[in-house]
C-alpha cells in the first residue's frame, strides 16, 4: 500500500487542476465543492489505510520511501553534483502529519461549502485550498529538504493568496495606528515576513548541503549521528532552520503576520493559520530533531523563544476584542508551547500538542466562523452576547473547543499541554523558570478562552435586534464542528502519559536525537501526577475567573483596564512590535531606496520623458544637450570610477 503514497499527494493536485482550470466555467457549486473536498477525502482514506497497514508491520518496516522521479540534477555531471528527487518518505511522523492535514483539511473543506456559498470566487477558493493541501502534503511527506522547501514555499504562497482572497475588503489592523488597510496588504505582509523565514530555511539548507553533501533526510541524519555534540556548523544550521520555523510558525519576533492573516476567510484561518501550515515549523524542527539535539545552544534558543511567545501572545490575547484576533494570538501562543516542547527535547509531546491543537483550534475557528456568519460579518465580541440561544450547536461545540484549549482536565489540550509543562520542568534542557512562564501563560489561556466564550455566547445581547437575526449554520457547517468537538474531547486519550501509545509510536523517529541527548526516562510517576493536578487547577482557576468577571461583574474588567492603563495600552497595541518594525526596518528601506539611492543617482532622469511627461524632452536637440551637459557624462564618470576601483583592487591585491 505504501507504494501508493504518491497518490496521497496527487489527489489534491488533481482537485486543484480541476477546480482551477474548469472552475470558472462551472457554475455548479455543489460539483466544485464535492470535487474539492472529495479529493482531500480520498487522500485521507488512503492515509488511513496506510496508517492501519503500518500498525500491522513491525517497527523497523514502518519507514519507507517512494521515489517518483529524479527532479533536479546538475547537468555537468561532476562528482560533487547535486541531485534531488521527488520522493516521499512514509514514516511514523509523516503519516501522522498527513492524517492531521487531510483529516482536518477534509472537514474544513466540507465546512467551506456552506461558508463560501454564493461567493463569486467559490471555484477559486476551492482551487487554492486544494493547492494548499497539495503543498502541505509535499512538505510533510518529502524525503529531502528541497522538496520540503517546495512545499514550504507552496503553502506560503497559498496562504498569501487566501489571506488576500477578499482583496477589496477593508480590514482593521487594530492597535493605535488603527485605521483600515486592504486585506491584500495583510497578505503581502504575511508573505514578506515569511520570506525572512525562508531566508533562514534556505541558508540552513545550503549549509546542510555543503556540510553533508546531500539533502536527503536519510543521508543527512545518519551522517549527523556520527558528529559530536556542539559542532559549530550544526549550531548555525539549526539556528538558520529555526529562523525559518519562526517565520512560518509565527514565533517572536516574526509573529506579526499571523494576526493580520485573519483577514482571510475563516475556513482559511482554521486550516492554514491554525491547524496545519503554521505548525510546519514545529514539524520541521521535529524532523531535524537529531540536528537540534547536537546543538544545545539552538535547543536553548528554541525553548526560550517558545516560552516567551507562549507568554506574550497569551497576554495580548487577554485584551483583544476581535473574535478571530483572540484566536490568532491564542494560536501564536500555543505554537510557542510546541516550540517550548521542542526546545526541552520533548519532541513527542510537541507533536502531540500539535495534533490536539489542530483539532480544537480548527474547531474554535470554524465555530467563530459560524458566529461571524450568523452575525453578518460582525467580529467584535463586545457587540455580541447571549448567542447560545440562537446557535445551540455552535455554542456547545465552541465550549468544548475552549475547554480543550484552556486545558480542562481530561480533555485533549489538557494532556498535551501538561506533558509539555512537565517536560519543561523536569527535562534535561528544562528549568523551573521555563515551567513558570508556561504555567502562567496557561492560566492566561484559560482566562482569555472563557472571556471569549462568555462575551460571545452568554450575558446580555449587545447587538441590534432589529437588523440581526442570528440563525444556526447549515449542516455542512455544523457537522464538521461536531466531529471536531468529539475529537477535541477524546483526542487527548491517545497521548495519556504511560498509558497510551503515541509516544512509543513516534519513538523511532526521535530515538537518534534522544540517544544523543542521553535522555533517560524520568521516574517519579507521583510527581508527574502532582503536576497534572497543578495544571488542572490552573486551568480551572482561569476558567472560573473569566466566568466570574465577565458573567457577573463585567465592570471589574474595565476597572482593571483603567487602573493599569499603561499595561493595557501595551497589550492592546501588541507590544508595539509592528510600529517598531515600521520605524526600524520598513521606513528606512523604502525611504533609503527612494531618496538616497534612486534620487541620488538618477535624479536628472526622473522628471524626464520617462514618467510619461514628454514635455521635458521635445526635440532631439534638447536630448543632445541633456546628454552633453549632464546625465551621460555622469554615467561615464561612474564607469571611470568603477574602472579605477577595479584597477586599484588588482594593483593592491
Amino acid at each position: 500500500m505504501i507504494t501508493f503514497a504518491p497518490l496521497l499527494v496527487l489527489f489534491p493536485l488533481l482537485g486543484f487542476l480541476f477546480n482551477g482550470v474548469f472552475g470558472w466555467k462551472i457554475k455548479n457549486e455543489k460539483l466544485l465543492g464535492i470535487v474539492g473536498s472529495g479529493s482531500v477525502g480520498l487522500s485521507f482514506i488512503l492515509a488511513s489505510v496506510i496508517f492501519v497497514q503500518m500498525l500491522g508491520v513491525e517497527e523497523s518496516a514502518r519507514k519507507q520511501s517512494v521515489e517518483v522521479f529524479t527532479w533536479v540534477s546538475t547537468f555537468t555531471g561532476s562528482s560533487s553534483s547535486f541531485s534531488a528527487s521527488v520522493a516521499y518518505q512514509i514514516d511514523q511522523l509523516s503519516i501522522l502529519m498527513a492524517l492531521i492535514v487531510t483529516g482536518v483539511g477534509f472537514l474544513i473543506h466540507v465546512y467551506s461549502i456552506g461558508y463560501m456559498r454564493g461567493d463569486p470566487g467559490f471555484w477559486r477558493f476551492f482551487a487554492y485550498l486544494n493547492l494548499f493541501i497539495f503543498a502541505m502534503l509535499n512538505l510533510v511527506l518529502a524525503d529531502n529538504f528541497l522538496l520540503m522547501f517546495l512545499g514550504w514555499e507552496g503553502v506560503g504562497l497559498c496562504s498569501y493568496l487566501l489571506i488576500g482572497f477578499w482583496y477589496d475588503r477593508k480590514f482593521d489592523i487594530g492597535g493605535e495606528e488603527a485605521g483600515s488597510t486592504y486585506t491584500g496588504h495583510a497578505g503581502m505582509k504575511a508573505f514578506i515576513v515569511n520570506r525572512i523565514g525562508d531566508f533562514g530555511f534556505l541558508m540552513g539548507m545550503l549549509l546542510i548541503f555543503v556540510t553533508f553533501g546531500s539533502l536527503r533526510y536519510d543521508s543527512v541524519f545518519s551522517n549527523a549521528t556520527i558528529m559530536s555534540v556542539g559542532t559549530p556548523v550544526l549550531t548555525w544550521i539549526t539556528l538558520f532552520l529555526f529562523v525559518g520555523a519562526t517565520g512560518k510558525s509565527a514565533q517572536i519576533p516574526l509573529h506579526v503576520w499571523l494576526p493580520d492573516a485573519m483577514a482571510g476567510p475563516t475556513p482559511v484561518s482554521a486550516l492554514i493559520h491554525a491547524a496545519t501550515m503554521v505548525t510546519a515549523g514545529v514539524y520541521m524542527v521535529a524532523r531535524c530533531s537529531i540536528l537540534f539535539a547536537l546543538a544545545p545552544t539552538s535547543m536553548l534558543v528554541v525553548a526560550i523563544i517558545g516560552a516567551l511567545t507562549a507568554f506574550c501572545a497569551a497576554t495580548i490575547g487577554l485584551v483583544q476584542n476581535d473574535i478571530k484576533k483572540v484566536l490568532a494570538y491564542s494560536t501564536v501562543s500555543q505554537l510557542g508551547y510546541m516550540f517550548l516542547a521542542m526546545g526541552v527535547a520533548a519532541f513527542s509531546a510537541g507533536i502531540f500538542h500539535l495534533m490536539t491543537h489542530a483539532f480544537f483550534k480548527a474547531l474554535l475557528f470554524l465555530g467563530s466562523g459560524a458566529v461571524i456568519h450568523a452575525m453578518h460579518e460582525e467580529q467584535d465580541i463586545q457587540k455580541m452576547g447571549g448567542l447560545k440561544k440562537y446557535l445551540p450547536i455552535t455554542h456547545k461545540t465552541f465550549v468544548a473547543g475552549a475547554l480543550a484549549l484552556a486545558g480542562f482536565p481530561l480533555l485533549s489540550g489538557f494532556f498535551s499541554k501538561d506533558e509539555i509543562l512537565w517536560n519543561a520542568f523536569i527535562g534535561e534542557h528544562g528549568s523551573p523558570l521555563l515551567w513558570l512562564i508556561g504555567a502562567t501563560a496557561a492560566a492566561f489561556t484559560a482566562f482569555y478562552s472563557f472571556r471569549l466564550v462568555t462575551l460571545t455566547f452568554d450575558g446580555k445581547e449587545r447587538f441590534d435586534h432589529h437588523h440581526l437575526h442570528p440563525h444556526e449554520a447549515p449542516a455542512t457547517m455544523y457537522v464538521p464542528l461536531v466531529i471536531l468537538a468529539v475529537l477535541s474531547v477524546v483526542g487527548g486519550l491517545v497521548g495519556i502519559p504511560h498509558v497510551s501509545q503515541l509516544e512509543h509510536w513516534l519513538d523511532p523517529v526521535f530515538d537518534p536525537a534522544k540517544i544523543k541527548l542521553m535522555q533517560t526516562e524520568h521516574e517519579g510517576f507521583g510527581l508527574e501526577l502532582l503536576f497534572m493536578v497543578v495544571s488542572g487547577t490552573i486551568a480551572l482557576a482561569g476558567i472560573w475567573a473569566a466566568r466570574k468577571v465577565y458573567l457577573e461583574r463585567p465592570e471589574v474588567a474595565e476597572q482593571y483596564a483603567s487602573r493599569f492603563k499603561k499595561l493595557y495600552r501595551l497589550l492592546w497595541n501588541k507590544y508595539f512590535v509592528d510600529e517598531g518594525y515600521n520605524a526600524v526596518a520598513v521606513r528606512p528601506i523604502v525611504k533609503g531606496s527612494d531618496f538616497l539611492l534612486w534620487k541620488g543617482f538618477d535624479v536628472a532622469v526622473i522628471d524626464g520623458a520617462l514618467d510619461g511627461s514628454a514635455a521635458f524632452v521635445n526635440k532631439i536637440a534638447s536630448v543632445l544637450r541633456k546628454i552633453q551637459t549632464g546625465v551621460a557624462q555622469s554615467y561615464a564618470t561612474a564607469i571611470v570610477g568603477g574602472i579605477l576601483f577595479v584597477l586599484t583592487w588588482i594593483v593592491l591585491r
Binding site: 531606496s593 520617462l610 510619461g612 524632452v617 561612474a638 570610477g641 583592487w649
Partner: protein, 514 residues
C-alpha cells in the same frame, strides 16, 4: 590552420543565422515593404539554427584554427539565443504593427545581433569576443533607436551608443594588455600561461625567462604572428627590454588587462557600477528590443564572461574571483534596492535585471563547476521569465510611454485573467519562489558561492532577493488586489500570445524538471 570544411558543419547554427540575415536583406531589397515575409523567414531561420544547435550539443571540437570552441557549452548558449531571438520576433510583430513601424530591418538586426551573440559564446579567442560584442552592440544600438520619430527611443540609442563605445574602448585596451603580457589572444594559450604569470607576480625575478614568447611558439599557434612583425615591439620588450626589477610587471599587466576586459563585459551585463545606462536605455527602447537586450544580450555577455573566467584563467586567481564577488554584491544590492522605488515597470525590470546580473556574477565569482552550471541554468531561466514579462509589457504599452506605470496594471486580473496570471507567474519566478525556474537558478549560484567559501556573498544574495520579493509582488498586488482600468485596446497579437505561452511553459518546466 585556417579554414576547413568541418568548420562550417561545426558552426552550423552560426552560419544559418548569417545566411538567414543575408536572405532577409535580399528579400527586402527585392520586394520592398513586405515585412511579413521577413518575419516568417527570420523565424524559420532562428528555429532551424536552434535545432542545429540542439544537434550539435554532443560533439566537442574546435574550429577555425582554435578561434572557436564548439560543443555543449557554445550550443547551449546558441539555443538560448535562438529561443530568445525567435520569441523577440514573435513579440515584436503586433507591437511594431501597432506603432506603425513594422519593417524588415528589425528582423535583420535581431538576426545579426544573435550571430554576434553566438560568436561571443563560442569564442576561444579574445579577438572573437571583441568582434562578437561589436556585432551584437552595433545591432542593438540601432534596435534601441528603432523608433526614429520618438525622442525616447533616440535618446536611448544615443546613450547606449556613447557609453557602449566608451566601455568597448576599455575592453579593447584590456585585450591589448592581456596580449602584451601573455603573448596571445587565444584562450587555450593564455590558460597555460596564466598560472606562471600569476605565480611569478609577487616574485621579483625571471618572469621573462618563464618564457612568454617561447611557450607561445611551442603552443604553436601564433608563431606566424610573431614573425609577421606586428607585435615585434611587444615581444621584444618582453624578451629583452624589461630589466629584472620590472619583471613582475608582466603578471600585473596581465591582471590589469583582465580587469579591463571584465569591466567591458560588466558593462554589457549591466553590473554595478557599470549599470547606469541600463534603466534609461531599457526604458526608451522599443519594448521587444528591450526584452531582447535584457535577456539575449545579457546571456551573451555571460557566455563570454564564463568563457573568460573558466576557459582562460581557470580557477586560479583569487584576485579576480574576489573582484567579481564585490561587483556581484554591489549589483545585487543596488539593483534590488533601487528597484523598490520605481514606478515605471520597464525601469523596474531594468533594475531587476541589474540585480539578476549580480546573482549570475556570484556564480562566476565562485569559480567552480557548480558556478558554471548554475550560471548556465540561470541564464536560460532568467531569459524565459524576463522576456515573458517584457512581452506582457509590450502588450499593454501605448503610444508615448503611456501605461507603463505599475499602477496602470491595477485591475488587470479582472480584465485579462490569463495575462495577469502569466505576469504573476513571471514575477513569482523572478522573485525566486519554488518550484519556478527562478528559484533554482538562485539556488545553484548560491550553492556554488557557499562551496567556494563565499558564504557572505550567498547571504547578501539571499537577503537582497528577499528585498526583491517586495517589488515583484507589488506588481501582483496591484494586478489582483486593486481596482482599476487596465485596458488593452483592440486585439492582442496572436504571435505575442504564443511567445508568452512558451515563456510561461519554460518557466514552469525548467523549475519542475530542471
Amino acid at each position: 590552420m585556417g579554414f576547413q570544411i568541418s568548420d562550417i558543419a561545426n558552426n552550423a547554427p552560426l552560419f544559418t543565422l548569417v545566411a538567414t540575415g543575408l536572405v532577409v536583406i535580399l528579400l527586402e531589397s527585392a520586394k520592398s515593404g513586405k515585412p511579413n515575409v521577413s518575419f516568417i523567414v527570420s523565424l524559420a531561420g532562428f528555429i532551424l539554427s536552434g535545432l542545429l544547435a540542439v544537434g550539435g550539443l554532443k560533439t566537442e571540437d574546435v574550429s577555425f584554427g582554435g578561434m572557436l570552441m564548439n560543443g555543449s557549452y557554445s550550443n547551449f548558449f546558441a539555443i538560448v539565443f535562438c529561443l530568445t531571438g525567435s520569441l523577440t520576433i514573435l513579440i515584436s510583430k503586433s507591437y511594431l504593427e501597432r506603432f506603425g513601424q513594422f519593417r524588415s530591418e528589425f528582423y535583420i538586426l535581431v538576426l545579426f545581433a544573435a550571430m554576434g551573440m553566438v560568436l561571443m559564446a563560442s569564442a576561444n579567442d579574445l579577438i572573437i569576443i571583441f568582434l562578437g560584442i561589436e556585432l551584437m552592440s552595433v545591432s542593438l544600438y540601432v534596435l534601441a533607436g528603432f523608433f526614429r520619430t520618438q525622442d525616447r527611443s533616440n535618446e536611448s540609442a544615443l546613450k547606449y551608443f556613447l557609453l557602449g563605445a566608451f566601455a568597448t574602448g576599455f575592453l579593447l585596451y584590456g585585450i591589448a594588455l592581456v596580449y602584451g603580457s601573455a603573448g596571445s589572444t587565444n584562450f587555450s594559450v593564455i590558460h597555460n600561461q596564466a598560472p606562471a604569470l600569476m605565480k611569478n607576480q609577487p616574485l621579483p625575478d625571471s618572469v621573462v625567462q618563464a618564457g612568454l614568447p617561447d611557450s607561445v611558439v611551442q603552443a604553436g599557434l601564433p608563431d606566424s604572428v610573431v614573425q609577421a612583425g606586428l607585435p615585434d615591439s611587444v615581444v621584444q620588450a618582453g624578451d629583452s627590454g624589461l630589466p629584472a626589477g620590472q619583471a613582475g610587471l608582466a603578471g600585473t599587466i596581465f591582471l590589469l588587462g583582465l580587469g579591463l576586459v571584465i569591466v567591458g563585459l560588466a558593462f554589457k551585463v549591466a553590473a554595478a557600477p557599470f549599470h547606469m545606462w541600463a534603466p534609461d536605455v531599457y526604458d526608451g527602447a522599443p519594448t521587444p528590443a528591450t526584452g531582447f537586450m535584457a535577456t539575449a544580450a545579457k546571456a551573451a555577455a555571460f557566455g563570454a564572461f564564463v568563457s573568460i573566467a573558466f576557459k582562460m584563467i581557470g580557477s586560479t586567481s583569487g584576485t579576480i574571483s574576489n573582484l567579481l564577488a564585490v561587483i556581484a554584491a554591489a549589483s545585487m544590492i543596488l539593483g534590488n534596492v533601487i528597484a523598490i522605488s520605481q514606478s515605471n515597470i520597464k525601469r523596474m525590470l531594468a533594475y531587476s535585471s541589474i540585480a539578476h546580473a549580480g546573482y549570475m556574477l556570484s556564480g562566476i565569482a565562485a569559480a567552480n563547476v557548480e558556478g558554471q552550471a548554475g550560471v548556465m541554468y540561470y541564464v536560460a531561466a532568467y531569459a524565459c521569465m524576463t522576456l515573458g514579462a517584457f512581452a506582457i509589457v509590450s502588450i499593454l504599452e501605448r503610444d508615448d510611454a503611456a501605461n507603463l506605470s505599475i499602477d496602470g496594471y491595477a485591475g488587470l486580473s479582472a480584465k485579462h485573467p490569463v495575462i495577469a496570471a502569466a505576469l504573476a507567474l513571471f514575477m513569482f519566478s523572478l522573485a525566486g519562489i519554488p518550484p519556478l525556474a527562478g528559484f533554482f537558478g538562485k539556488y545553484y549560484v548560491f550553492l556554488a558561492a557557499v562551496k567556494a567559501d563565499m558564504t557572505w556573498l550567498a547571504i547578501v544574495g539571499v537577503l537582497t532577493s528577499l528585498i526583491s520579493a517586495y517589488y515583484y509582488l507589488r506588481v501582483v498586488v496591484v494586478m489582483y488586489f486593486k481596482e482599476g482600468e487596465a485596458a488593452v485596446e483592440g486585439r492582442i497579437g496572436m504571435s505575442t500570445v504564443v511567445a508568452i505561452a512558451v515563456c510561461a511553459y519554460l518557466v514552469v518546466q525548467l523549475g519542475v524538471y530542471p
